[in-house]
């Protein structure tokens, strides 16, 4: 009787329509929200307590460094604004479309996939923050992944290196920013290091070298062009020299993710 009931339940749940299963999943996951909130508050409290215990001299030194950094950033902003104006003028002259500035929504990482065979995280923004599936998630260092499931106030992000996050990327020559080759970023199942992924299906004969930066190519329509992915670590030939494969060290430390940005456009 009990065995039959469990089997029936499993069969019913596994055969639910994708949308219903997704909603049920979010509802069940919602039971954990108070615990995630509690854990987050406890962590914040611990950080605040740590901050109050910081010595005054260290704080003053930090303020001084931040002032200097602020001034440097002001100067860089002025230069960037000038470059942006120049860029807009040249684009108008050439008849190119204007680049839309990125609109970013900050969010906090609240949890990760408990299973070892997926690489996903949960963030504390959702439908109420206008988050939609397939939006790009990144940090100041580079690409993190894309949004997959969206709940009311939290979303699941599939990280770069997960089997469900394959995308096209391009390798650039650091000196002149020219595109050396294009390939597909795939998970590196042979490495325990979560920061290593493979760049596969690179045409043979491409001049790949360790240290070259890897960026999103914009092909596929999910990630915008030019987001930093990482750097090439080493290169090997595959399929009798027909293709090249490179190991890429991700720019973002996925093990230390605390805060990420969701690109709204």
């Amino acid at each position: 009787m009990t065995v039959g009931l469990v089997l029936l339940l499993v069969l019913v749940v596994l055969n639910l329509p994708e949308q219903t299963a997704g909603k049920l999943k979010l509802a069940l996951g919602g039971l954990f929200l108070p615990l995630f909130a509690l854990a987050g508050s406890a962590q914040n409290l611990a950080e605040q307590t740590g901050n109050t215990l910081a010595p005054r001299s260290a704080l003053l030194q930090q303020i001084d460094e931040l002032r200097k950094e602020n001034q440097r950033l002001h100067e860089q902003l002025a230069q960037a604004q000038e470059a942006s104006r120049e860029n807009a003028q040249l684009r108008r002259a050439l008849g190119w479309q204007q680049r839309v500035p990125w609109s970013l929504k900050p969010s906090r990482v609240v949890g990760q996939d408990p299973a070892n065979w997926w690489r996903t995280i949960m963030i504390d923004v959702g439908l109420r923050d206008k988050i939609r599936p397939n939006m790009t998630v990144l940090t100041s260092e580079g690409l993190v992944g894309r949004v997959t499931d969206v709940g009311f106030d939290r979303s699941r992000v599939v990280l770069v290196g997960d089997p469900n996050c394959r995308f096209s990327a391009q390798v650039q020559e650091p000196r002149d920013q020219s595109v050396v080759a294009k390939g597909i970023i795939s998970p590196s199942a042979s490495s325990l290091d979560r920061l290593l992924v493979d760049l596969v299906y690179v045409p043979g004969g491409s001049l790949l070298k360790p240290g070259q930066p890897v960026l999103t190519s914009g092909d596929g329509g999910i990630f915008q062009k030019g987001i930093t992915v990482g750097q090439i670590v080493d290169v090997r030939t595959n399929d009798h020299g027909l293709n090249l494969e490179a190991r890429v060290k991700l720019a973002v430390n996925l093990n230390r993710l605390e805060q990420v940005w969701v690109m709204l456009q």
Binding site: V3, V6, L14, L31, P114, T120
Partner: protein, 188 residues
């Protein structure tokens, strides 16, 4: 085993799933996360009836899948099969033995992820598998095995604290008591 213990196991299963999702330290350190649910199912199957085992496997599996990319319900069956097998072999298992607890935890923690991954492949999903998965599996197996005796110890303590103590049996019977004194004295 009373209903309090069932609720306690469910609560621990809920907390275990939360901790597996929240704490990243172990995964960052050794590259794998330990699953505590198989150990809890082993304890439940040796200490409770089949309904409790079914409840823990179902709710534990659903909670786990709700925080994971796994399709909802895929983890229920492996946990329930483990619970069912252990429950029907309970008469042959010396549950008080630390070695038996460890070995049961080891076997359960080894079988559960294998069964889940096979089910995932069977349903057309593509989990991240490779040589590193062997290491992750080893960590899960050893971690689950180590947690099982801890689980038995804690729940048995909890059970003793919230249940009536059995009256110790004694061979003393008042009607068979030999009363000793100085004996009868005859005065001459």
């Amino acid at each position: 085993m009373n209903w309090m213990n069932t609720i306690a196991i469910l609560l621990v299963a809920f907390l275990a799933v939360f901790l597996e999702s929240y704490f990243r330290g172990l995964r960052n350190l050794i590259g794998a996360q330990i699953d505590l649910l198989p150990a809890l199912v082993v304890y439940a199957s040796l200490s409770a009836n089949i309904s409790t085992v079914a409840l823990i496997a179902t709710l534990g599996g659903l909670w786990f899948d709700s925080l994971s990319t796994n399709p909802l319900g895929i983890s229920v069956l492996p946990l329930f099969v483990i619970g069912l097998v252990v429950h029907y072999c309970r008469d042959l298992i010396m549950r008080e033995q630390l070695y038996a607890q460890f070995m049961l935890g080891l076997a359960a923690s080894a079988v559960a992820p294998l069964f889940t991954v096979l089910s995932l492949i069977g349903t057309g999903d593509e989990p991240l598998l490779g040589w590193c998965s062997l290491w992750q599996w080893l960590v899960m197996v050893l971690g689950g095995a180590a947690f099982t005796p801890v689980c038995f110890y804690l729940f048995d303590r909890f059970n003793r604290a919230f249940s009536y103590q059995a009256q110790p049996e004694t061979s003393f019977r008042p009607d068979r008591e030999i009363k000793r004194d100085r004996g009868r004295h005859i005065d001459y």
